[in-house]
């Protein structure tokens, strides 16, 4: 049934967040606010060197300090490495080497933070300094310093290819080339995750409270490392505050686990703001080159992107490629290669829009350049070539190879839906593109120093990936017709807990305020992907809907005898079971779940109905979310400053579950994406030290720094997503650099290719300095 025919009660509605009241009253408890009885405070001693061997480490003075309960070094943790499913970390908790400035060397648990800090000063470490390497391209060369314990600095190449690109370039009327460099963006979060670990029952049980976004994945990693049954390791994912990937989970949690073990007391490790910037995880630095061949009529024929990205010290990714080729599946020849390379910089890993933000920027500039060469409107060139539903989805096989090679691979894998064409049409119309875009020769000729320009760009991102595990969900319907939903999401604050409640309530036919969710406790929820990779609405949402459907089936079965109808002919709406054909046949859910004895106790016949599922989504129809952005800006060619005047986003995320939540996500992607493009950069010196680990020197946009974006959605049902919904959160951050680069070119005639486009880089590009 198409959605428009269905009368939706909770899906597609602007409902309040489930935890809104907690948030506005200040009782929403983040890890920093959370305590457990008997808890100690932990602090971490970090390396002052980018690469060094620890020759000797003496903790005796620290241990002797009154108030210190435990000190751990690499001698107190397993000699084996641990690795996360999403390869954001591979390494030991600590070993006898340090690999970046800020690497963990030791940790202290004490009765308070001040005592722990004093103890850190008493730890004596002797280092043998080793040569270090900070640049991924250098680290790939033979003879470069070895960063990881084993394996080359450069991971095996990941390739997505089809056709023959060289042949394609020979056939093309026009071939353009380009290179981009993306410096390191930080998640720049002021929520300082402070995990708390507590061991019990003679070290056979472990509870870990942490602001992590992938609790099930963390449980697996911890259980593997501490060698306990998964049933004995409990992760409680506390609200993360702004995460953007930073708090997915990190070695920080493992440090806490081992410090608590040695202390025989619960321990909470507390971070300073500079450690959050320079000691955890950031976005990759990426060097991207590419070529694009097009015909004069605008057909793209050959597309090549080569990407080298740094994993920092402990990142271990080579599959940051997410959707780049999928937006252009009609191109006859494609070649995309990626190298993840270890360096002696702070670890790099998943950050909102990983891969598709950075590589997409390179590709979008190529598309702009090709459009100019054939003198075509950049919107038009994209419209001619962009993906449509049913087009091949080629990047899927690398995920299959990495995570699911034991599973059969479908013969044909296609994109389930893609409204890029409609996004472009809507954007052109709402932005007034035709009026504002004066053609390629229109470079601003105003005589003053301030030049105006307009630009646009596109992007696509995944809605989770296949082969990384099936998600479970449980829906428990109580005797009074209310329900509890259990699905693993973590609490990232992106509204997905509310979204899941809307999906379950809609499927079950009960009001939104009759449903509660537990999404953060691994003892309660089945395994799930968590809030990662724009996954939760689609993957978890599919599980949630399936579990709700299962519960509903059971309720309708019970109702059969009461209504003298077969369950197939019954449905539930607003808590009332009704016959689809006999309108007078209706009873509230409570009638089948409980029987009341007047003035006495509620005797529940079926005190609880449980619906559950462990499910996955199709492996041959892959939803992707896409966006087209339009911008007008001013460049001050004297100062190099860029001022955004107008910004418009159009996105296809299928049917929206909660438009308020969705708009907020697009607002966030905009602020962070424009930040990436214009101002955000972690700066390091030759020794690998981060020079700006604070908000005074790492600037993010404040309210009023940018015009509010105008937001439009193309709401078309995706055929496989729950109620037609797809992922949403990451495409919006991927588009700004491409759109802003075109607008700057339109204003000044120069291409910016290194992010962020700081005034200094703009002036350099203009040849003024």
């Amino acid at each position: 049934m198409g959605l428009h025919e269905r009368d939706l009660q909770t899906v597609n509605k602007r409902l309040p967040l489930k935890d809104a009241h907690e948030k506005v009253t200040g009782v929403h408890e983040f890890p920093y606010d959370f305590t457990v009885p008997g808890m100690l405070y932990g602090r971490i001693l970090r390396s002052p060197h980018a690469h060094a061997q620890i020759r000797r480490i003496d903790v005796s003075k620290a241990e002797a300090l009154p108030g210190v309960i435990a000190v751990i070094t690499h001698k107190d943790v397993p000699a084996e490495e641990w690795i996360g499913l999403w390869t954001n970390y591979r390494g030991c908790v600590m070993d006898d080497k340090v690999r970046f400035v800020g690497d963990e060397v030791a940790a202290v648990a004490a009765i308070d933070i001040r005592t722990a800090d004093r103890a850190l000063e008493l730890i004596k470490v002797e280092y043998d300094i080793l040569p270090h390497v900070l640049d991924a391209r250098e680290a790939m060369k033979p003879g470069a310093p070895q960063v990881k314990t084993s394996g080359n600095n450069s991971k095996d190449v990941v390739l997505v290819k089809w056709g023959d690109v060289e042949q394609g370039f020979r056939e093309a009327d026009v071939v353009v080339e380009g290179a981009t460099l993306n410096n390191a963006q930080d998640q720049a979060t002021f929520s300082r995750n402070s995990p708390i670990a507590s061991w019990a029952d003679n070290d056979t049980k472990l509870t870990l409270w942490s602001g992590c976004t992938a609790p099930s994945e963390l449980k697996d990693a911890v259980a593997n490392l501490v060698k306990l049954p998964k049933s004995s390791v409990r992760i409680v994912a506390l609200p993360t505050g702004p995460s953007l990937g930073k708090w997915w989970f990190n070695n920080l949690e493992m440090m806490t686990v081992y410090l608590a073990k040695k202390a025989h007391r619960p321990v909470k490790i507390v971070l300073r703001q500079d450690e959050v910037f320079a000691g955890i995880k950031r976005r990759h630095i990426e060097y991207t080159t590419g070529r694009l061949g097009v015909m004069k009529d605008g057909t793209m024929v050959s597309m090549e992107v080569n990407d080298i990205f740094d994993n920092g010290a402990y990142g271990d990714k080579n599959d940051i490629f997410q959707s780049l080729s999928e937006l252009w599946p009609r191109v006859n020849h494609g070649y995309f290669e990626m190298y993840g390379v270890s360096t002696n910089l702070v670890t790099a890993g998943c950050m909102r829009g990983v891969g598709d933000l950075t590589m997409n920027f390179a590709l979008e500039v190529l598309i702009h350049k090709a459009a100019e060469k054939i003198d075509m409107d950049p919107v038009e060139l994209r419209r001619i070539n962009a993906a449509k539903a049913g087009d091949p989805c080629r990047g899927q096989d690398i995920h299959h190879e990495l995570f699911g090679s034991h599973l059969p691979y479908p013969e044909k894998v296609v994109i389930s839906s893609c409204a890029m064409d409609e996004c472009l049409t809507k954007g052109v119309e709402e932005f007034g593109w035709k009026r504002r875009w004066g053609g390629w020769s229109s470079t601003n000729k105003s005589s003053g120093p301030v030049k105006r320009g307009v630009g646009m760009a596109t992007a696509m991102h995944v809605c989770g990936i296949r082969y990384t595990g099936d998600c479970g969900a449980i829906v428990k319907v109580n005797a009074d017709g209310s329900a509890n939903l259990m699905v693993s999401l973590g609490r990232q604050g992106n509204g997905n807990d509310s979204t899941q409640c809307q999906i379950a309530a809609e499927e079950l036919g009960i009001p939104y305020d009759m449903i509660s969710i537990d999404c953060n406790d691994t003892n309660v929820t089945p395994w799930g992907q968590g809030s990662t990779a724009s996954t939760s609405t689609y993957l978890s949402g599919t599980a949630t809907r399936e579990a709700a459907r299962d519960a509903k089936r059971k309720i309708l079965k019970l109702a059969e005898s009461k209504l003298d109808e077969s369950a197939d002919n019954l449905d539930i709406k607003d808590g009332v079971i009704f016959s689809k054909t006999h309108h007078n046949k209706r009873i509230p859910i409570t009638r089948v779940l409980e029987d009341k004895i007047p003035d006495f106790w509620e005797l529940a016949k079926q005190p609880c109905i449980v619906g559950s599922t462990v499910t996955n989504v199709p492996d041959d129809q892959i939803p992707k979310h896409v966006a087209a952005h339009f911008v007008e800006l001013e460049v001050d060619t004297d100062t190099g400053e860029i001022r955004l005047l107008d910004y418009l986003q159009v996105q296809d995320s299928g049917r929206l579950i909660n438009p308020e939540v969705c708009e907020n996500q697009l607002n966030g992607g905009y602020y962070q994406g424009v930040g990436f493009t214009l101002i955000e950069e972690l700066v390091h010196d030759d020794m690998g030290r981060i020079l700006n680990p604070n908000f005074a020197h790492y600037k993010i946009f404040r309210c009023g720094d940018l015009p509010d974006p105008k937001i439009h959605f193309i709401e078309q049902d995706d055929p496989v997503g729950p109620f037609g919904a797809k992922g949403l959160g990451e495409a919006p951050i991927c588009v700004p650099p491409g759109a802003i680069a075109l607008a700057i070119y339109n204003a000044t005639g120069v291409w910016m290719t290194e992010t962020p486009f700081t005034p200094e880089r703009v002036l350099k590009a203009l040849g003024k300095i």
Partner: protein, 160 residues
């Protein structure tokens, strides 16, 4: 054992007087959170940049991480916990809920406090004045557009 050099600090918080024992150099943020137990005052950067720790001091929004507790003696402190009266939320809190003036919620208590400071002085602010009022509050989630809307809507309610 070293003799404690703690001092007694008397603070007026949300209309009540608290006497707490604190180090002379203790920050107001720490004392409000740890001694008074008001954890709605969020600890963010602790460097005066993010505004998560904002409170009203004699009606002015200030970052409590940058102030010594002793400097607040004799002044009226209002934290996010002091906004609801008798279980009834302040119109700003209602508006933030209704218009989704938040995502993760980390900046929210500080942002609502800043907005209260503004509306108490300027009950009918312009869009630009609301934005200026948030100049000390970072929202990494980028919820600014709906934060501004929430304040403007709350102002309408307050002004009847």
């Amino acid at each position: 054992m070293k003799k404690s050099n703690k001092i007694v600090v008397s603070l007026n918080v949300n209309g009540l007087t608290y006497e707490v024992l604190a180090e002379p150099h203790a920050k107001l943020l720490e004392v409000l959170r740890e001694n008074v137990g008001l954890k709605g005052v969020k600890s963010g950067c602790e460097e005066g940049e993010c505004g998560a720790c904002a409170i009203l001091l004699d009606g002015e929004p200030v970052t409590s991480c940058m102030m010594l507790a002793g400097a607040a003696v004799g002044k009226e402190i209002v934290t996010i916990e002091g906004l609801a009266k008798g279980g009834k939320l302040h119109p700003l809190q209602e508006a933030f809920m209704k218009y989704h003036g938040m995502q993760c919620g980390y900046c929210t208590p500080g942002a609502i406090i800043a907005a209260k400071g503004l509306l108490d002085k300027n009950p009918n602010p312009t869009d630009q004045e609301v934005r200026d009022g948030f100049s000390g509050n970072l929202c990494r989630c980028g919820s600014y557009p709906k934060m501004v809307k929430s304040v403007l809507e709350a102002a309408k309610v307050i002004n009847g």
